[in-house]
């Protein structure tokens, strides 16, 4: 062991220090891989943890919760639930969001303070040292005024708010003024959302959120000694129709399921980054072995064992992986914040978005993450270094002392590689025909993996073909490039066994980039076509602040009346929605005015063929139209029946039609407003589609509408054009993360070509010296190496395009459908492919310049004399 460390220090550490640039690139590559992997994991954990922490701190000691089918219920129901007191202390709750003038969101909770203190801990800031903790009576007094609000100290202090300060909050479409009556210490619910929490009296909250006579939930703290499971079942059996009982923690499961598919996809992408690190380690150790064959020979001649040589080079990989993983942990933490942001936008749940982004920065790396980083990086590093390290251990003392065995004169790859490729492609095809497992596109990703490896196995034969073709082409090209072309193709042709692995790695990374770009390009085309087809209203309106995740029921009757009164308004289709649970999964239930939709609007229907007449027939009947994602997730087709929870208990609805929707991947079921109100009670709309009379100027009407509803109600009006722009903007920003991926792929291509060529050049030092003796100019040598770089880039990109296109088909038609329930109209972006190919060629050509400079520095006098 002592000998090992001594040798390691002299033989490996000094070499690493000598070749600092390459060592740093490798370490960075590994840390990037580890970083991306950890970032995704942290982001994942962060969103869920934050959600859990917020839910837990707000839930307090709540054991069970009673909720309505639509997310709220009539407060008169309370009188029919007096028997609940037998189990423990019930406390009715109103929750919602409010927007401060500074733009921040607060979670507002309205409770009956006297009843609620048993469930949750509130501690008010003492105003001075001798003031004691306020009694319940004092607490109550603080809230008798409907304009009273209690903020957290954490929120108030930095904003200069004190007891007695006025604060203006927008809740739904209304702006309201409040007086700060108290400040909560950082404890209990006040801890949720990083202090962005406000407490009100329940009656004041009902008024502020325009939910008079309604309650959102009833929280119950069970008496000590009672079994929650058993009580939950007992309560469920006795509850009036339309009410449900659940445990607060059940929400996590729903959220987890909702984001599982998304994170699964991100993880798959993150694994490319690891692949990159693997490839860099392989290359670095290869270079290390190539350049030091003679030293290895000397060591062997001096009695060093094979296993010691193997251990030395594996140790080099391990050291880089350890440093890389260490740096990667830090990097991952930084990237996690960005990833959380991207995730939340896509998951499009306001609640999680707010919670997660605010707490991402606080999420620390735990022991588990550290173990994971090293647990993944170290074995992979050893795996990647195994081939070159074994090569080093097989160096015979004599052979190395006399100089390395030269490359084979001409290498013709075995046909076996082609057979393996074909078999993998066939396997990929078979896997792509399989169904999702537990809602996760596992076979889809396995198919993608099979296709990628199939592409990778094409590398040796593709390189051979390319070298032959370019050799022939070189002879016919103009004279200035003939010799460079000949030498470059001959060099690469002789190094196929070594270059193939690099080309395979590059091709995989480029293939992924191409596939994802095609998928996103197609998706964008699809969405913009869908927007074109379905956004037919002239003006859209929604409340400035959505008080809940789904933005339900917020536009005041007065505002709607004012809009209807406008002479240019022809019709209004109002949309109401609430979050519901179907078969244990969160979905959106909605209501629209089907007759207005039929007369003015448009939905892009997937099935059946006569969807419009089905829509017409469904007015007044228990029927729903469902989004494609709903249809795919729950396997429901037109004519099938779905059972939904209503205010009067479970009811069956017929699926009238399936429509395309790209706004929500959870699934939407929409019914006509009259049907909705019959089952779920009256509810205010959360958004309006306003159709104007022909010839009306949308911009002018928009301005007029904003004025006519007055300043008390805050509606956001948008014209058709601006909504379209907004949809595309949201789309682009959601997928912005993939540009980073593209950048990574291209950087990797550049770095890969660079390090591969350095390895090749080191291996060919003697040949390069001979060229120097034969009078090759610096320019010719440089051009030769750049041509080699471009050849590597071309073959990689060609395989990349082939596998990328196959992969994109799997992404669009298998993975995407299985994870999001969206059909994408496939669109092959020819211009993009040409442009990316040119970019790759340019980047690889540039990447060839550094190895060329290295080649020009070779001391020709030294190498021509070695055998």
């Amino acid at each position: 062991m002592k000998t090992y460390f001594k040798l390691f220090r002299q033989f490996i550490l000094r070499a690493i220090a000598r070749d600092r640039a390459r060592s740093v690139i490798t370490v960075l590559g590994i840390s990037l891989g580890v970083g991306v992997m950890l970032a995704i994991r942290l982001a994942n954990a962060t969103s869920l943890d934050a959600f859990r922490a917020a839910t837990e701190s707000i839930a307090g000691e709540t054991s069970v919760q009673i909720t309505g089918a639509t997310g709220h219920f009539d407060e008169m129901m309370l009188s029919r639930m007096e028997w609940l007191r037998r189990y423990g202390q019930p406390s009715p709750v109103i929750t919602g969001y409010a927007r401060a003038e500074s733009g921040e969101f607060l979670q507002v909770m309205g409770v009956d303070i006297l009843r609620d203190r048993g469930l949750r801990r509130y501690r008010l800031l003492r105003l001075n040292a001798d003031e004691s903790e306020p009694t319940a009576r004092r607490f109550l007094l603080l809230l008798t005024d409907p304009e009273s609000i209690i903020l957290t100290e954490k929120f108030a202090r930095p904003r200069g708010l004190e007891i007695g300060s006025r604060i203006s909050l927008t809740m739904g479409d209304a702006r309201r003024e409040f007086t700060v009556r108290g400040l909560l210490l950082d404890e209990g619910p006040a801890r949720a959302l990083d202090g962005n929490f406000a407490l009100m009296d329940i009656a004041a909250a009902q008024w502020a959120f325009n939910r008079l006579g309604r309650l959102d939930r009833l929280d119950i703290k069970l008496a000590p000694g009672l079994d929650a499971d058993q009580i939950e079942a007992e309560i469920a059996a006795r509850l009036p129709a339309g009410l449900q009982v659940a445990r607060p923690e059940e929400q996590y499961g729903q959220v987890e399921r909702m984001i599982a598919a998304f994170h699964f996809n991100l993880n798959a992408l993150g694994s490319i980054a690891l692949l990159v690190g693997l490839f860099l380690i392989y290359n670095t150790v290869s270079i290390s072995v190539i350049t030091r064959r003679e030293e290895v020979g000397t060591l062997r001649a001096l009695g060093t064992s094979r296993s010691m040589v193997l251990a030395l080079f594996l140790g080099e990989a391990l050291l880089m992986a350890i440093i890389g993983a260490g740096v990667g942990i830090g990097l991952g933490r930084l990237m996690a914040s960005a990833a959380v942001l991207a995730t939340s936008t896509t998951v499009e749940t306001f609640y999680i978005a707010t919670v997660a982004t605010e707490s991402a920065s606080r999420h620390s790396v735990g022991l588990l993450e550290v173990l994971l980083a090293f647990g993944v990086a170290l074995p992979l590093a050893l795996f990647a270094a195994a081939v070159p390290a074994l090569e080093a251990s097989r160096v015979r003392p004599v052979e190395a002392m006399r100089g390395a065995e030269r490359l084979a004169e001409s290498f013709k790859p075995s046909r076996k590689y082609l057979i393996v490729s074909a078999a993998l492609f066939a396997l990929g095809y078979a896997l792509s025909r399989m169904d999702a497992m537990n809602g996760l596109p596992v076979p889809g990703y396995l198919a993608a993996l099979a296709l990628m490896f199939g592409g990778a196995f094409l590398a040796p034969n593709a390189l051979w073909l390319a070298c032959r073709a370019s050799r022939k082409l070189a002879a016919r090209s103009f004279r200035g490039l003939q010799v460079e072309g000949l030498l470059a193709s001959a060099n690469l042709g002789g190094a196929i066994p070594r270059v193939s692995i690099s080309v395979a790695a590059l091709a995989v990374s480029l293939g992924m980039m191409i596939a994802i770009s095609i998928m996103i390009g197609s998706f964008r085309e699809t969405v913009s076509y869908w927007v074109d087809q379905t956004l037919k209203a002239d003006i859209y309106a929604r409340p400035l602040v959505r008080t809940r995740a789904t933005g339900e029921g917020d536009i005041a009757e007065r505002s709607i009346a004012a809009i209807k009164a406008d002479p240019d308004v022809a019709a209004i289709d109002s949309f109401t929605s609430h979050q519901a649970v179907y078969q244990g999964n969160p979905i959106t239930m909605g209501a629209g005015d089907f007759d207005v939709l039929l007369a003015h609007g448009r939905l892009a229907f997937k099935s059946p063929a006569d969807a419009r007449s089905r829509l017409k027939q469904s007015i007044g009947r228990d029927a729903v139209v469902v989004s494609e994602s709903f249809s795919l997730r729950f396997k429901k087709q037109p004519g099938d029946r779905v059972e939904m929870e209503t205010e009067a208990g479970a009811r069956e609805f017929e699926v009238a039609a399936v429509y395309y929707d790209y706004s929500n991947n959870r699934g939407i079921a929409v019914m006509d407003r009259a049907t909705y109100e019959r089952h779920f009670g009256r509810a205010q709309p959360g958004s309006l589609s306003i159709y104007l009379r022909p010839g009306a100027d949308a911009e002018a009407v928009k301005e007029r509408l904003a004025r006519s509803i007055g300043s008390e109600h805050m509606l956001l009006f948008r014209t058709n054009a601006s909504v379209r722009r907004e949809v595309i903007r949201i789309f682009d920003s959601t997928f912005a993360i993939t540009y980073a991926l593209e950048a990574i792929a291209i950087t990797v291509a550049g770095l890969g070509v660079l390090s591969t060529l350095i390895a090749l050049i080191l291996e060919r030092r003697r040949e390069l010296s001979v060229l120097n003796f034969l009078g090759a100019t610096r320019g010719r040598i440089r051009r030769m190496i750049v041509i080699e770089a471009v050849l590597i880039g071309t073959v990689s990109q060609a395989i990349g395009i082939l596998t990328g296109v196959m992969l994109s088909l799997v992404l669009a038609y298998v993975i995407n459908v299985q994870s999001f329930g969206w059909t994408i109209q496939y669109h092959l972006p020819v211009a993009f492919l040409i442009q990316s190919s040119l970019l790759i060629l340019a980047v690889t050509a540039l990447a060839g310049l550094y190895p060329a400079a290295r080649a020009l520095k070779i001391n020709a006098l030294r190498f021509v004399r070695e055998e």
């Binding site: 070189a474 003939q482 000949l486 002789g494 060229l771 034969l774 009078g775 100019t777 610096r778």
Partner: protein, 215 residues
């Protein structure tokens, strides 16, 4: 420490000079200086009236392509090029077309007895064949000077003799100046003048009246 000191040597066109001496005496260094691959720290190398130290890197490269041919101990054929391509390389590096290079290489390979091996790769050749191909490569651009560093050092005596005969023949028929570094007395015997070097200085110069007489 200087590899060569106070060495003064002049060669006429058509000369055949052998440099002899123990390893490290400066033979190869002298060849590298003559071929413009290295610069003397003091003094100068003049080829056809041109001082090499006045030339730029590019001019030196052109000089090596057109006026100097190298033959090495370990042949140094490029393993990934065919024999014909290897031989044509200096011409192609000088901008000649591949077709012209092939044609000239074919002539020369016939001359060195490797006409049938043109399409083979170096690894398929014997040591002697490789060295003859290397000689063909050295003279394809019709240089005025061929510098051979231990050309027989890696060959058996029969193949060594063949290569030396080839060099002597080129010297005689084409008038190419040949400067040879060697340990072999037999190889040196082909030269008209033999310079013995020791510790970087010329120890002794021997003149041969007639090369063929010594055989």
């Amino acid at each position: 420490m200087a590899a060569l000191k106070g060495v003064s040597l002049s060669a006429e066109a058509g000369d055949f000079i052998a440099l002899m001496g123990p390893s490290g005496c400066g033979k190869s260094t002298l060849l590298h200086l003559l071929g413009g691959m290295d610069h003397p720290t003091r003094g100068s190398v003049v080829l056809d009236g041109v001082a090499l130290d006045s030339l730029s890197q590019e001019e030196l490269a052109r000089l090596r392509r057109r006026s100097v041919g190298f033959v090495f101990q370990f042949f140094n054929l490029l393993p990934t090029l065919t024999v014909s391509e290897n031989v044509a390389l200096p011409l192609m590096l000088d901008g000649a077309s591949a077709a012209y290079g092939r044609e000239r290489a074919s002539d020369l390979l016939d001359r060195v007895g490797l006409g049938a091996r043109a399409a083979h790769f170096p690894a398929e050749l014997s040591g002697g064949e490789m060295q003859r191909a290397a000689v063909a490569r050295a003279i394809i651009a019709e240089p005025r000077l061929v510098l051979a560093d231990e050309p027989t050092g890696n060959l058996d005596s029969e193949n060594g003799r063949q290569v030396m005969n080839l060099l002597a023949d080129l010297n005689r028929t084409l008038g190419v100046t040949i400067i040879l570094a060697t340990h072999s007395e037999e190889a040196a015997s082909y030269a008209r003048r033999v310079l013995r070097l020791r510790d970087g200085t010329i120890e002794r110069i021997t003149e041969h009246e007639d090369v063929l007489q010594t055989l």
